[in-house]
Amino acid sequence: MDTASIYLGLKPPRTLGAWHESPPSLPPDACRCPRSHRLALKLSCAGLILLVLTLIGMSVLVRVLVQKPSREKCCVFIQENLNKTTDCSVNLECPQDWLLHRDKCFHVSQVSNTWEEGQADCGRKGATLLLIQDQEELRFLLDSIKEKYNSFWIGLRFTLPDMNWKWINGTTFNSDVLKITGVTENGSCASILGDKVTPESCASDNRWICQKELNHETPSNDS
């Protein structure tokens, strides 16, 4: 009687008949809980999927929008390059504002002019236009030059009678050390842009690089 009253109190009257028809067991009671659980699970899964899709979509949108400033970064970097001052290791053996590397001093001009004027300007400084010894020296100069987008005259020109490239110290150009890219014509002088040696009309305007050997300690006026 106690057991019967407990069961009666827990269940609504509708299921009373079912109880009589079948032996007392968990299945009828368990039917309701699994259904509500299933519904909750379905709703949760749908919500989760919706959230994930929304998150993915918005992430893509944000990334697309945020990518734009990266171009402006490039602008800033170019600007910063303009403002950078070359770190010069001051050495008594080199004049002021000249760069020391191995046994040479180098100077990058701040003005533009023809190849002849560049050579004359170097001469007034007791130097000559750049004579590139090897790739290592060229690499040093590339790292030192802050203006990456400009050409610089060097002491190499195309000589007419010989139809050959010659350095201004008389030695013949050695294509094993450097390569000249571009059209070679009469009246061509060589300039460097990046790591490339390019023929250019000698009458064009470029900045230039002077060099002087440390061995020749001739007094020179650099003012």
Binding site: L10, L26, D29, A30, R32, C33, S36, H37, A40, S44, G47, L48, L51, V52, T54, L55, M58, S59, L61, V62, L65, V66, K68, P69, E72, K73, C74, C75, V76, I78, Q79, L82, N83, Q110, V111, S112, N113, T114, E147, Y149, N150, S151, G182, V183, G187, L193, T198, P199, E200, S201, A203, S204, D205, N206, R207
Partner: protein, 269 residues
């Protein structure tokens, strides 16, 4: 060149506009040093603009971090976790289900909360960004973005190098030409803003015996003589020079601004 300004330059717009204006000022200064509108009471005080707004240290070490950060992205509202309760009809059912279901419930609630917070944060960030875009689009500009207006023209300065032919092709793709100047004011602007870069312009000729022409085939009026014996002209550190077409250089495009295109009024020279 005489420059008169009503007030010292201000850089008081959004981060990206500030950077663009700085780029312009930085390149346009040429070889002179200029006063700008930043000051402070002493070295211990913060830098201020002349209208008493505080400088945002755009060009100190953490410049990029500050400019790229937007205030809206930092904001986020805490997500609300759902509270679930279950009616348990029998003690046996409660004992059997509680450990597993509670663990699962906690996991599900945790994941849902994280996702909700992420979506809310993104929702807050996106409208602000979109609003900025909409405002930019609706603004009627005389010159396209990244172009600089001078007089009735717009000028574009490239950020990498190419030969003269490609530069002209690039400009034509922007409905423009390699740069043309019609008076000394425009030329002075180009010479200053090109900074230290030798830059292609739109003057060319067939050979050293032919006259110089603009890319629209009008003849150059020899306002300034062009040095050299080659066929393509560029702005150098020494004026206007000429070189072979295959030399890589920065280039400048130019075109009439929208006002001049839509309202053809005779412009006094």
């Amino acid at each position: 060149m005489n420059i008169t300004r009503a007030s010292l330059p201000m850089l008081n717009t959004t981060c990206s506009c500030r950077r663009e204006k700085w780029n312009f000022l930085g390149r346009y200064e040429g070889t002179f040093d200029y006063w700008i509108g930043l000051h402070r009471a002493s070295s211990k005080h913060p830098w201020m603009w002349t209208d008493n707004t505080e400088y945002n240290n755009m060009f100190v070490y953490h410049m990029n971090a500050q400019c790229l950060k937007k205030p809206e992205e930092g904001e986020s509202s805490p997500g609300t976790g759902g509270v679930h309760s279950y009616k348990i009809l029998q003690r046996n059912s409660l004992r059997a289900i509680s450990p597993e279901s509670s663990a699962k419930l906690y996991c599900c609630c945790g994941v849902i909360m994280v996702l909700t917070v992420a979506v809310v944060a993104l929702s807050v960030a996106l409208p602000a960004t979109k609003t900025e875009q909409i405002l930019i689009n609706k603004t009627y500009a005389a010159c396209p973005k990244n172009w600089i207006g001078v007089g009735n023209k717009c000028f574009y300065f490239s950020e990498y190098t190419s030969n003269w032919t490609f530069a002209q092709t690039f400009c034509m793709a922007q409905e423009a030409q390699l740069a043309r100047f019609d008076n000394e004011k425009e030329l002075n602007f180009l010479m200053r803003y090109k900074a230290n870069f030798d830059s292609w312009i739109g003057l060319h000729r067939e050979s050293s015996e032919h006259p110089w022409k603009w890319t629209d085939n009008t003849e150059y009026n020899n306002m300034i003589p062009i040095q050299g014996v080659e066929t393509c002209a560029y702005l150098s550190g020494n004026g206007i020079s000429s070189s072979r077409h295959y030399i890589p250089r920065i280039w400048i495009c130019s075109k009439l601004n929208n006002y001049s295109l839509h309202c053809p009024t005779p412009v006094p020279v």
